[in-house]
Symmetry: C5
């Protein structure tokens, strides 16, 4: 998992039923100084995250399907939490 920041939204025409009603968010991958690395993922949201939120992203398909309780969703990256505190020493 990595720390990301929600930086936008995506609207797409997708036929697969698993995406119906799901919000797709652009998430910038942050480094440990909380700066964008240039990498990103288009994520499915599970925690009502909004633009600007610092989030925890799971980037693995089998786990992503499990969070969504969908055995067959064609989904790879999911926002699983909102980061409240990041304590780097």
């Amino acid at each position: 998992m990595y720390i990301g920041r929600v930086s936008g939204t995506v609207v797409a025409t997708i036929k697969d039923e698993a995406f119906r009603g799901r919000k797709l968010l652009l998430v910038d991958h942050l480094d440990l100084d909380e700066q964008p690395t240039g990498a990103y993922d288009i994520c499915v949201d599970t925690v009502q995250a909004g633009v600007g939120d610092r989030v925890l992203v799971l980037d693995e398909g089998n786990g992503a399907r499990q969070v969504l309780r969908l055995a067959e969703a064609p989904i790879r990256a999911v926002i699983v939490g909102i980061v409240d505190e990041l304590d780097k020493q």
Copy 2:
């Protein structure tokens, strides 16, 4: 998932049945400014995408097989949608 742009087509001699009748597209991986990153994938199309289209790419094998409703396709990257709007803030 990432945002890509279809930049061409591939014709290949493939023995595996799962590819029969499938269109293979070259897709450039875009960054969030919609510029090519230099990375690409050869993707199976599921949404009738054409060259120049901005698409949503799923790059994970188990999910890709699920989109295609094929339990055993040797496929890893699939175009799952056409991007209508990308709102980066």
Copy 3:
């Protein structure tokens, strides 16, 4: 697997039950000279690792779920051991 060093902790609001009571640690990916590479993972701890510890990280979802004895945890990276000795020749 790779060698990492625990560099901090993360507190997050996560709805998924699999994270209940789990400690999330920031782990810097080390190179073989034991210097940070700039990459990191947010890992679930299984060995009571603390900040500063040199650890062995498994970064693969199916294996991570197996270490945790959870068939469905949405987890990808897990600290599986404390490194006692690293003998590079």
Copy 4:
């Protein structure tokens, strides 16, 4: 999947039965200008590819096992096709 070019062969002492009689090929990962990127994979061949051939490589374990019709082969990258035409626009 990516486009590669077969650049050599590997002979190795491997105990696992799944490799018996399989040809292992060195494959350079090509960019879309068909230049080597510096990355490579050791691939199992399924299409009688030879040195110099431009090939389509599937780099995902579950799919690779399916191409080979082996439920348990410890194999990750497989040459699935010979590229006949690459039309980049």
Copy 5:
């Protein structure tokens, strides 16, 4: 799979039973000129490889578990062979 060179050993305190009695080796990822790329993996050995040996590494969890005949090992990278000959053209 990639070509690596065994460059050392790791001793770690690991609770998971799957690691009992397994030797963990540091393996440098080699490029096709047989120079280290700077990347590495901590691998489980299956072929009695020693420091300095040029080896074939499988870096995929499901395949790694299959080589070890363990349905549930939390293992991702495994040395599957000793490279006898690398013929690059």
